[in-house]
């Protein structure tokens, strides 16, 4: 790959510029990978340096600090309270009490009778004692079987992860507590007063207002998104499925076996790798068509409605927007019924004599695939029309005016002014809409449920011809033969595919806009 300087680059035509950027992205991959390796190395080095620096600081603070500081190493918040910062001190102390309670005494509160430390100690094995069936014979000779449950792998994994997060949070708070002591000592040495609890509270609506605003949203995201995702990533490395439900039969760490099952070809009857390949291909094909048909048709419709001399603009828009206004599940489910074999569409087509026999829309793989794309156009055009309308109105009118004087035809105007402008502004939007189409559960699931069933891939949780990775993931976690670990593997693979596409596109896109430009 020949590198060219900026001046030469500017001389290239638009297409060549794109090709150049595209090629140079791939040419740069080796050096980028090397950069990544170096970055990872730097990352660990920094972590090591950071830890050693922190430790040194901890020691020096301890040695140099007064007795209040020293006591704070054991009793969190003691220094704060002793120096008059009651509020901060009490909060630190509370954290310590809660932590110790959780780690050592929480068995008093829950029925499982385990505390944080016990959960953590079971995490490496995910439980050793499965359920057992105890046979008891009563005085009268009747035999009863009762199942006694011992370990629960799912709970061990769940609370083990929770404990890990809690420990991390505790260490962070403990460190902050010590840093506070150090700072307080320094301030007192200079003779200035410390911040009171009142000052702290006031700063929460002023200087530290961002912390107040972010506290609630970020807690929600941490508890309901970050921890579950972390947990599910771990599940991918176990053998958690319907046979190993974690209660009657425990599940265990299983290394990369799940990934191996999903990605390598095997000769057995159940071929997950074949299913994965087929579904991934269709997912990409679907995302491509769903994104670009909507995009270009949406722009086209917006231009038609915006054209000078077209009346009732508002009416046309309102009619189209109906598909946004009405909850998707109603319109999708109803349309799906319309195309049923004995549905309205076939009925009408027969009445007007276009067909003689019913068409089985949803049972033919290719028909079903085309149909979901077409119906998705029906759902998707209105969004694009709204977006495109907004952008089209922002294109300076004199561009068109002057190009018309120069004798440009309508098509020329479109391809040289409208489209480049649209593409430039909506580049990031196109990317996100591609990735969200890859994960477009509703349209596929409500229209076809993934069907028609792919008989060549039997045993893989009922895979159908219109299944996307995301609907397959859903099927793997519901139904009769749940394969939770495979669902997790699929989820991780979806993440990787989406991340790679995002990375490539962002590097090839003309310019990632500088967000400060807008303000």
């Amino acid at each position: 790959m020949k590198k060219i300087d900026e001046l030469e680059y500017l001389k290239l035509s638009k297409w060549n510029k794109f090709v150049y950027r595209f090629l140079s992205f791939f040419a740069a991959i080796p050096s980028k990978l090397w950069g990544l390796v170096k970055a990872v190395g730097r990352f660990f080095k920094n972590i090591g340096l950071g830890i050693s620096r922190e430790c040194k600081d901890l020691v020096t603070t301890f040695v140099k600090g007064d007795w209040k500081t020293k006591l704070s190493y054991v009793i969190m918040g003691f220094g704060n309270i002793a120096r008059g910062q009651i509020l901060r001190g009490v909060l630190f102390l509370l954290m310590e009490v809660v932590f110790i309670f959780y780690m050592f005494f929480s068995q008093l509160l829950n029925a499982d009778g385990s505390n944080g430390l016990q959960w953590l100690s079971k995490l490496p094995t995910l439980g050793t004692q499965g359920a057992e069936i105890v046979e008891t014979t009563s005085r009268f000779g009747t035999v009863t079987h009762t199942t006694i449950y011992h370990d629960n792998s799912f709970k061990i994994l769940l609370y083990g992860v929770l404990t890990l997060f809690f420990i991390a949070a505790f260490i962070y708070t403990w460190r902050a507590n010590i840093r506070q002591n150090k700072i307080a000592e320094q301030i007192l040495k200079t003779g200035k007063p410390l911040k009171s609890g009142k000052d702290d509270l006031r700063s929460l609506v002023d200087d530290n207002f961002h912390k107040t605003l972010l506290a609630l949203p970020l807690t929600g995201i941490l508890v309901f998104t970050v921890m579950p995702i972390f947990f599910m990533i771990l599940v991918a490395f176990t053998n958690y499925d319907f046979e190993h439900d974690g209660l009657s039969t425990l599940f265990h760490w299983n290394g990369l076996a799940g990934f191996k099952e999903m990605l390598t070809w095997n000769s057995g009857p159940v071929k997950y790798s074949a299913a994965f390949g087929e579904i991934l291909t269709w997912t990409l094909v679907w995302a491509f068509f769903a994104t670009f048909t909507n995009y270009f048709l949406g722009i086209f419709v917006a231009m038609m409605i915006n054209k000078k001399g077209i009346r009732l603009k508002k009416l046309w828009r309102t009619v189209l927007v109906l598909t946004i206004a009405i909850p998707q599940f109603i319109s999708l489910l109803f349309v799906s019924q319309m195309f049923a074999k004995n549905g309205i569409v076939n009925g009408v087509l027969k009445d007007i004599g276009l067909i003689t026999a019913d068409i089985d829309w949803w049972n033919s793989p290719s028909l079903a695939r085309i149909l979901v794309i077409v119906i998705n156009i029906w759902i998707g055009i209105p969004y694009l029309m709204l977006i495109a309308t907004g952008i089209l109105m922002n294109i300076p009118a004199d561009l068109y005016e002057s190009s018309r004087i120069d004798g440009a035809s309508g098509w020329k105007q479109f391809s040289k002014i409208t489209l480049p402008y649209m593409l430039f502004i909506t580049g990031p939007y196109l990317l996100t809409s591609f990735t969200s189409n890859m994960n477009n559960f509703n349209v596929i699931y409500l229209l076809t449920g993934g069907g028609p069933t792919n008989t060549a891939l039997s045993g893989t949780s009922n895979v159908g011809h219109t299944d996307l990775l995301i609907t397959w993931l859903f099927k793997l976690t519901t139904g009769a033969n749940q394969k939770y670990y495979l669902a997790s593997v699929v989820g991780i693979l979806v993440f990787l595919v989406v991340a790679i596409i995002t990375l490539v596109v962002y590097n090839v896109l003309p310019s990632v806009k500088n967000e400060e430009d807008f303000q």
């Binding site: 309901f224 077209i310 939007y429 989820g491």
Partner: protein, 295 residues
């Protein structure tokens, strides 16, 4: 004829030609638009017609009902439909309040404050957003089940799940906040306003369109959500929302008995939501075109 006159005539002719071609292209556009409008309306007209069809309850292949009546609507009240409706309505109400607060907090902070972790936080959230959200369902179900918030008691559980992760969807609002000049904040700060006062007295009034947009989308989302609701309700009728409930009527075993009732239920769900949307359409358009693209 003088040269000037000739030229004028040529211009006129060209003009007339232009006008004629303009008229032609406009006619074509009108035809296309009418066809589109018909295609867009057909399913909605059909579902309304089917909801008034009383001669049978199964799916049929003709358009005009043979006999009309309100039977399907009345029958809805003997099923769990009112309960589903109430469930969804409660969820939507809670969500549009809490989610709006959370999203606006998030968007405003990330748009206005420059703090130490900001860049890392935004990058982290972007990466987090690349994971399919469905992945978290399994564990969330199990945890909620521990607190007895699934099945018949799924409403609080669903609210919690929807609301808790709603902070991730801050992009559109942030794009809008970014367009409000920072100079306004700074001027107010110089005059001695706290950060909170800046938000409350200056930014929020200016951000009215995006606030309404957020409320509207937050209110509408629960009416259409299927996956999480289905998972959390776990086939317990009393805990379903309208989407899961009505979908269950289209099973192979139910569809012959419930098809027309599905239609009438669908109409009852769609009407208020669609009317609300149409009333606030202006704000929706502003949000979509303003925030979504700048992102």
């Amino acid at each position: 004829m003088s040269k000037q006159q000739k030229e004028a005539q040529a211009v006129m002719k060209q003009h007339m030609g232009l006008k004629a071609s303009q008229r032609l292209s406009n006619t074509i556009i009108y035809i296309l638009l009418v066809i589109m409008a018909v295609i867009w309306l057909i399913p909605f007209v059909l579902i309304v017609l089917q909801s008034f069809r009383v001669e049978s309850t199964e799916r049929v292949n003709y358009i005009i009902p043979h006999s009309w009546g309100l039977k399907n609507y009345k029958a809805l009240f003997d099923t769990s439909f009112p309960r589903w409706y109430l469930n969804t309505f409660i969820i939507a109400l809670f969500q549009c309040v809490i989610q709006t607060v959370i999203v606006l907090c998030m968007a405003y902070t990330l748009s206005r404050f420059r703090f130490k972790m900001r860049g890392k936080l935004m990058r982290f959230m972007m990466i987090l957003g690349l994971f399919p959200g469905m992945l978290t369902m399994l564990i969330l179900y199990n945890v909620l089940a521990d607190f007895n918030l699934t099945g018949e008691h799924s409403v609080p559980g669903l609210i919690l799940v929807y609301v808790a992760s709603s902070g991730m969807g801050y992009y559109v609002s942030k794009g809008f906040f970014d367009t409000i000049p920072k100079a306004l904040d700074e001027a107010a700060r110089v005059d001695g306003a706290t950060r909170f006062q800046v938000l409350y007295k200056i930014i929020l009034p200016l951000a009215k369109p995006i606030v309404i947009y957020t409320i509207l989308t937050a209110f509408m989302a629960p009416w259409g959500d299927f996956v999480f609701a289905a998972y959390i309700a776990h086939a317990k009728e009393l805990g379903m929302n309208v989407a899961v409930g009505l979908n269950s009527w289209l099973d192979k075993d139910h569809v012959t008995k419930y098809y027309t009732m599905f239609c009438s239920g669908g109409v009852l769900v769609a009407l208020p939501v669609a009317i609300l949307f149409m009333c606030l359409q202006k704000y929706y358009v502003e949000g979509v075109t303003g925030g979504a693209v700048k992102g």
